[in-house]
Point group: C2
């Protein structure tokens, strides 16, 4: 059976591969990890049959449980404060949408976490849910590495801010791209979306998009489809220009 190569070899410490892993992680996290072992575990599939010195399995499954719980409470607190009019049923429903398997799979893909996964099973056999599972495990690893409030900040900055949009979840805003285009046209602003990155195939497919308005790059975004990257960039630009857009 082929062993899927990844960018670290967790049996060695402080190897050159660790250096690359550390750098890539730092770029995704937006901060330097303290203890790489938590993250290595979050990306280790059970097919590796790894155990620690006490014979406990090393793989991402327990971390999934932990990450799921942390996401649940951070999103709950966010919804609670953000939607003072929402009753318990509304809050529960909105949280379910945000932490749906489908949404977590998308997040895992957008963070391109699968590049780190160490497995004896080939990617083709994983199924779609691997993305959401390792995404949850990744959140669990952040919690273990840095504690709750750091984990909460990460979720706010990297998930809630760019991805969680209550108006969209409620179906009130269909597309930030169309809102933004409408505003540009009304204000006679030049705009275009530039694809600056287009790589990978299948599960690893990735696009980078820059949004130019009046010859300035106002937002960038990366996602697993051109459409999604454009939408995220549009949302970011929308919030940059929100005060101008809202007063029109």
């Amino acid at each position: 059976m082929r062993i899927i190569k990844n960018i670290f070899q967790s049996s060695r410490s402080h190897s050159p591969e660790d250096g690359i892993f550390f750098d890539k992680l730092t770029s995704i996290l937006g901060f330097k990890p303290n203890n790489l072992e938590h993250y290595k575990k979050a990306f280790t599939h059970r097919s590796m049959n790894k155990t620690d010195e006490n014979g406990h399995a090393i793989n991402y499954e327990r971390l999934e449980f932990l990450g799921d719980a942390m996401l649940g409470s951070v999103i709950a607190a966010h919804l609670f404060s953000k939607v003072p009019t929402g009753d318990e049923g509304y809050l529960t429903k909105m949280r379910s949408k945000i932490v749906s398997r489908e949404h977590l799979n998308e997040l895992g893909k957008d963070f391109n976490l699968i590049q780190f996964v160490e497995s004896k099973v080939s990617f083709q056999h994983f199924g779609e849910n691997i993305h959401g599972n390792i995404f949850e495990a990744f959140i669990g690893a952040i919690y273990l590495d840095k504690g709750y409030s750091f984990c909460e900040k990460f979720i706010h900055k990297k998930i809630i801010k760019p991805y969680v949009d209550i108006d969209r979840l409620e179906g009130k805003v269909i597309s930030y791209k169309s809102l933004l285009i409408e505003w540009c046209q009304k204000e006679k602003k030049q705009f275009h979306y530039e694809i600056y990155d287009d790589n990978g195939t299948g599960n690893l497919k990735h696009f980078g998009v820059k949004l130019h308005i009046d010859n300035k790059i106002v937002a960038k975004a990366r996602a697993t489809s051109k459409k999604k990257a454009e939408e995220i960039a549009s949302k970011r630009a929308y919030f940059v220009f929100q005060s101008q857009i809202d007063t029109k």
Copy 2:
């Protein structure tokens, strides 16, 4: 319709009733609350039809959602660190047992939270789940009042330590009372359980038990039945004497 009297009148601030509420809360919490309003809300039933200045409903239902989420993540992190051998399925099952409706109802009763509830519906019409619901809302109020790590400490000190026992949940230990009695008999120690408090009826029924060993009070506990109070006191005593018991 009769308004159930409770010990605070939330329409007034800093009233003598607030003082009593503050003192009783402080005794349950083990710390001084900052903002009584969160706790008042946690004990306000929807039948009061209260709203704030923005027209948002004031009752415990939203806080229940928040408290449930906080309990979920604190218990998840506890189980994760406490049971390194437990896989995802085990951890999920154990958490469900700990935060079961039945267990939360017991916790709400043991904290005697119903004494604070403000309602136009009489207690008889609430049903059993009122205890668990206001218990969750109470946890939500602690989180809002003091933040996550304080809330986590409260859950550890007041819930996990006295009530959550993984061996018992797994069915490994049937009763701490029998373990303790066995040890006392083997060690020729005198022991007896003294009921020092027995009040209330129905939902409000409460017992206080002191466990004496060799004429010294080694543990106290309060619960809704004599049997439960004795078991909690026994568990507390068990942990006091654990090193001696385990080496026998």
